[in-house]
């Protein structure tokens, strides 16, 4: 019994029994996944842009936030480290595409080497990102958060940052942290800030060279520095909490939203890199075991390669919007 129905489209491009896109099912699905993942990342970055436009005159300046380089303490090196990270990721993209190319030539030895180098590049990148997070969370100078949630930083007459630890007058006998074992058992309190507002106020009064810098960006594109009288008054009237480093609640560099988006977007990207590294390792062992040699096609390397390049692509945008713009 012949059940074939003639549709009149046989032999045409989309008539069936044909590969109009000349790509395999797996590659197409990887492309569609990449499109949807790209939209997810765009959503995050667009939300970041929304918040930034909302606080356009007080957003932290990235050059002042990411100034550190491993093993170089006290040296102002804005962006060099993240430029290095970008280069590592682009480099591992290159080794990946070389692995794909070697796969096309069915050259098992070369695919193995290039996959290995790609994994190493990915690991260096994730490690660098962990270091970057660590530096950001620890912070450097410390700052004071006001009642309105703004950040007051401290500078000397030349405009160089001054650490709160360098001028705060430490008093003894201030209050201790409340613990449920020696107070109300149903209430908890987080760790107390390293300095009380009294200590910072007294320290500022005793150091006439220290000024307060607000987060408002002036016409010259710099953060506004208050006069001496305004500094003392602003800190006394509005200062509420000593802040060191950044987390999801406070951020010594400025708007807490900056830290929130930084952790979320670079974290989500780092998670992609991590899963990419794991997938690459799996493929690497498959290559060594000769799976694709027996399959007579290294297309799996190509599909994983697409994902890996996509991770690189996203980083290019994260780099621009977090560190450059």
């Amino acid at each position: 019994m012949n059940t074939t129905v003639a549709t009149g489209t046989e032999g045409k491009t989309w008539g069936g029994g044909n590969k109009p896109l000349t790509a395999s099912y797996g590659k197409l699905m990887m492309w569609f996944f990449i499109v949807s993942d790209a939209l997810t990342f765009s959503g995050f970055l667009a939300a970041y842009g929304f918040s930034r436009f909302k606080f356009i005159d007080s957003w932290p300046i990235a050059d002042e936030v990411f100034t550190h380089f491993p093993f170089l303490h006290g040296v102002e090196a804005p962006m060099y480290y993240v430029a290095f990270m970008t280069f590592v990721l682009i480099m591992s993209s290159v080794t990946m595409v070389l692995a794909v190319d070697a796969g096309h030539h069915m050259n098992k030895a070369k695919v193995t080497i290039y996959m290995f180098l790609t994994v190493i590049g990915g690991i260096i990148f994730v490690g660098s990102q962990a270091w970057e997070w660590n530096t950001f969370i620890k912070g450097e100078f410390g700052a004071v958060q006001t009642k309105g949630g703004n950040i007051l930083q401290f500078v000397d007459a030349e405009g160089h940052r001054v650490a709160v630890a360098d001028f705060a007058k430490v008093e003894t006998g201030t209050r201790t942290q409340h613990e449920s074992k020696n107070g109300l058992w149903f209430v908890d309190e987080g760790a107390l800030p390293a300095y009380t507002m009294g200590e910072i106020n007294n320290g500022l009064a005793a150091h006439p060279e220290v000024l307060v810098r607000t987060q408002i960006i002036n016409e010259a594109g710099k953060k506004t520095v208050l006069s001496r009288e305004e500094s003392v008054k602003q800190l006394k009237d509005n200062g509420r909490l000593f802040v060191q480093g950044a987390n999801l609640h406070v951020n010594e560099y400025g708007s807490p939203l900056f830290a929130d988006f930084f952790f979320f977007i670079t974290g989500f990207h780092g998670f992609h890199v991590l899963s990419g590294v794991i997938i690459n390792i799996i493929i690497f062992f498959n290559v060594i075991l000769g799976t694709y040699e027996r399959r007579k096609s290294y297309e799996m390397v190509e599909k994983v390669g697409l994902y890996w390049h996509f991770v690189d692509l996203v980083w290019v945008f994260v780099f621009t919007f977090f560190y450059l713009v």
Binding site: P20, L21, T22, A23, L28, W31, I34, V35, A38, L39, S42, G43, A46, A47, G49, F50, S51, R52, F53, K54, F55, I56, D57, D63, P78, M79, Y80, A83, T86, F87, I90, M91, S93, V94, M96, V97, L98, D101, H104, T146, K147, G148, N150, I216, G221, D237, N238, S297, G305, L306, H309, F310, D312, L313, V316, F317, T320, Y323, L324, V325
Partner: protein, 126 residues
């Protein structure tokens, strides 16, 4: 299993002998762009601080250079150059249309809220 690679970039201005040499060529190009970006970001030339369409010219340059980088990553590393037109349009135009639309809406709204903060009856300098 034919793997035809188009070996010219910059609209045929540069043509490579093999796929491998094209990969290295694109790497050199991407590295160059990154170096320019970082150099501009550190120097911040005064002449590029003027505004164009509500954003600093320097920022426009950064964004354009980023898109250039994204183009070469997609076209040469992800081999979009070698795919058929239908696949390329399906992936690229869909994404670009939706992203441009979303970015426009959110930035517009963010700018509006900023104007409410700065010129409305809201106090946030305490």
């Amino acid at each position: 299993m034919a793997h035809e690679h188009k070996l010219e970039i910059f609209r045929g201005l540069v043509k490579f002998k093999s796929n491998t040499s094209k990969i290295w060529g694109v790497l050199v190009f991407l590295t160059l762009i990154t170096v320019i970006e970082v150099a501009l970001g550190i120097v911040k030339p005064e002449s590029l601080m003027g505004k164009f369409l509500g954003m600093k010219i320097l920022n426009w340059i950064f964004i354009i250079l980023t898109i250039v980088k994204a183009y070469y990553i997609t076209w040469d590393f992800m081999h979009m150059r070698d795919e058929v037109k239908a696949l390329r349009r399906m992936v690229v135009w869909t994404a670009i249309f939706l992203i441009v639309y979303l970015v426009f809406i959110l930035l517009q709204e963010g700018g509006y809220i900023e104007s409410v903060y700065s010129s409305g009856f809201i106090k946030n300098d305490f």
